[in-house]
Amino acid sequence: MASLTGYATVSMILFSLGAIGVVSRRNVFVIYMSIELMLNGINLFLVTFARYHFNMDGQILSMMVIAIAAAEAAIFLSVIILLFRTKKSLDTDIFTELKQEVE
């Protein structure tokens, strides 16, 4: 069970769950958490192949993905606070300030 295909299956399922969450939910928080889940699935894939090839470059790449996820968390969550203060809602369909009016 704990073979290359097993680990790849788990990481692909995690990535797919994240992608499904991004396209199907309207809550901003859940969309952000889905992005985190996708990054987790990709990290697992990288670490799996690092073990498979007995080469640690994959682990370093996955560490950089975690650093970028931390930077993303800071920016994304402060943007969510600003949006929630102005609109009092978490619905992505309400945030249409930049939409062009079609005449």
């Binding site: 704990a2 290359l4 692909m12 797919s16 928080f29 889905s34 007995f54 640690m56 619905d91």
Partner: protein, 172 residues
Amino acid sequence: MIDFVFVALSICAIAGGGTMVLHKNPIYCAVGLLISVLSVAGLFALLSATFMFMVQIIVYAGAIMTIILFLLMFLNIKEQDLPPEPKKNILVAMGVILMIPINLLVLEGVSRLEDSDMSIVEEGFGGIKELGMKLYTDWLLPFELISILLLVALVGAVVLAKKREKRGVKNG
């Protein structure tokens, strides 16, 4: 034994992810993601990536998930603030149908690779010493770029969070 731990951790990871996608209340979604992240950390340990196991627990479960839970409680989200999602189940089903071919494609490719030994390495792989040696020699430039990125994110978060005076809106 390793197979048993692997199956248990995988089930926890996938169940946590499924809870996150399907549940309405964001607090339960955050707890589901937390379970999923911790299970992935366990899988890292099974893949003998001990330093990644530590980083995953400290950065993801310790820092990012704490910020998310803190914010969810800070914003005090009520039931009426949550967006109505009447078409959620249909969209999830459509997403599953869309993602299955991509999964099958990747797994077909992976299963054609020759099988190799994935057992736990005792020493000399994935520890903090080996990873540090690699990080500060071969990967020095990306490492410095990541530190600049983190600095920019820090400044950006401060700029976004500070108070700004109201400007008059012209033309409505």
